[in-house]
Amino acid sequence: MSSKKQAIDRYSVISFIICLFIAPLFLRNNYWLHVLGITGINIILVSSLHTIRSTGEISMGTGGFMALGAYTSALLAMKVGLCFWLTMLLAGILCAAVAVILGYPFMRTKGIYFSILTLVTGEVFRLIAWYYRSLTGGSVGLSGIPGPNPITIPGITTIMFDTKVDYYYLILVIALLSLLILFRLQTSQVGFVWSTIRETDHLAASVGINVLQYKIFAFGIGSFFTGIAGALFAHFMHLLAADATGKFGMTTSIYILIYMVFGGEGKFMGPVIGAFILTILPETFRAMKEYQPVIFGALVILIVFFIPQGIIALPDRILLWRRRKKTS
């Protein structure tokens, strides 16, 4: 039963990925490609949050770390003139380094206090971008961020990045790669240690696991991919601004957390599905833009009370409910 179910899961994931690859053939609309691009970035963000969560902690600084990655990559590309592939990597590495340095004091706290600290950190990063006018453009924002450099595959073709379709494929490939790496990490030895720490950190420490180090490592990895997502966002939008209600504010950190819980944090694919549904769905109700957050807030509360395991547990729950009905 279990292996059969695993096979079904694997086939559904593979067929879904194939669907994503051929999607641009049917979507001639740039708007939807843009939405899908943002969805991909959100998926990287939610998976990196899920990685940090696998040690039991919740980071609420996603927006801030994303800002750090985005501005690092954009400024390196604009002021220093490095190519996109390098700046993206450097943005990720800088975010990871900052997370490790901050993780050392922060990981001494746990639970809600870690969340508060990361929330404050995220907001501080945004405020730096907002106030440091000479570097980041402040309230005017940073515009004219170059796109990725073309890739030349010798003898075959040169991939230019000038249409939305190219960007879509770029984000798709990077998102899939990130997911693969994070999935391998979570199912590796390290991943098991993380879940041990999540279950009982005192017991883990008593059998000789360096809890602090593993937690900092998870925070660093998560922040690395958050930085990558931020860099992608910067070069995808070509424009950055750090206002409170924008992409780098507290709102993003909150929404990414909600995507994770909505999808279900029990499984690796849960948060991904949550981010996918909750980024695409509001776009189909664009006519009622004003009421969107109201509905969103209400939906979130309902989900917590009625399907606490998230959307991914829905099929199991329906199955259980039908079985119970049959027996009674």
């Binding site: 004091p105 922060f106 106030y131 409170a244 909150i254 109201v294 807030g297």
Partner: protein, 290 residues
């Protein structure tokens, strides 16, 4: 660097401290709720914002006296706190993530609800005490002085309540050790309700005072929430006295560092300070073990 005169600096410190004291009300409420229910009330900023909006509608639109309007608003928000506790937080108490998500959902719901209902444009409550007085050689608006006075009085009142009255002692006990306090016959449901009511009332007062000094908009709650959280983090988490000290530190940072080193340094300073404090003393300045 350009020279900063002593008067400007003093003025700025006093302004920072006044606003810091209003944010202390926010932090005390948050901290009280957090230590009793272990829930971080993200919608606390929205309670603060709603408190300000109710005062605006009562005093500006209906023409009721400002202080009477504050009383009504505080009472209403205390009831809102009770309702939130009863229907949203009580069923989820003892868990970590679900109450947090519900609080975030409430935050989004209330914030966008107010945006839809009352409009996104900033509103302002006319100053309840025009004019200014001279303190330590600097001019300060009477309304600001009164607001700081009210905040200090309320913080003192909260301390007296927690140290002297029966219910206050019960709250302190519940925040120190949940199980032991239950064994002493202190009902956890009642304590959570009390904490939410008192916390929400404090937030509403803070919101109304801030609304009279600055302006109202649907997003004012987020700013206040962040300031409140910075105060909690600075002063040591889980300690009420730490909250007051944190407020004063934040006020000084906003007063001194903002003027001397500029806004970038002023926004980084709390984070650096917290990181240093946590390295030296992992419990925070006045905090207890986690």
């Amino acid at each position: 660097m350009f020279e900063i005169s002593k008067e400007v600096l003093l003025q700025s410190i006093i302004n920072g401290l006044v606003l810091g004291w209003i944010y202390v009300l926010m932090a005390l409420g948050l901290s009280l709720i957090l230590s009793i229910t272990s829930i971080l009330q993200f919608a606390h900023g929205e309670v603060y914002m709603l408190g300000a909006y109710i005062v605006y509608y009562l005093s500006v639109i209906s023409g009721i006296n400002f202080f009477v309007a504050i009383f009504i608003s505080v009472a209403l928000m205390a009831v809102l706190g009770l309702l939130l506790e009863r229907f949203f937080f009580r069923p989820l108490r003892g868990e970590f993530l679900p109450p947090m998500i519900v609080a975030l959902g409430l935050m989004i719901l209330l914030q966008s609800g107010v945006t839809v209902g009352f409009g996104i444009n900033p509103k302002s409550i006319p100053s309840f005490a025009p004019g200014s007085i001279k303190i330590l050689g600097t001019m300060i608006g009477v309304d600001r002085a009164v607001a700081a006075g009210i905040s200090i009085a309320l913080a003192l009142l909260l301390f007296l309540f927690l140290k002297i009255s029966k219910y206050g002692l019960a709250l302190t006990a519940a925040s120190q050790h949940r199980e032991a306090s239950i064994l002493q016959g202190i009902g956890p449901d009642r304590m959570s309700a009390l904490a939410m009511a008192v916390g929400s009332a404090l937030a509403a007062t803070g919101g109304a005072l801030m609304g009279a000094i600055l302006v109202l908009n649907p997003f004012m709650g987020s700013t206040a929430l962040i300031k409140g959280l910075i105060i909690i983090v600075l002063g040591g988490m889980g300690s009420l006295f730490g909250g007051v000290v944190g407020g004063i530190i934040l006020g000084l940072i906003d007063g001194v560092i903002l003027v001397v080193f500029g806004p970038v340094a002023a926004s980084v300073a709390p984070l650096l300070l917290v990181a240093v404090i946590l390295v030296i003393k992992p419990q925070g300045l006045f905090g207890h073990e986690f």
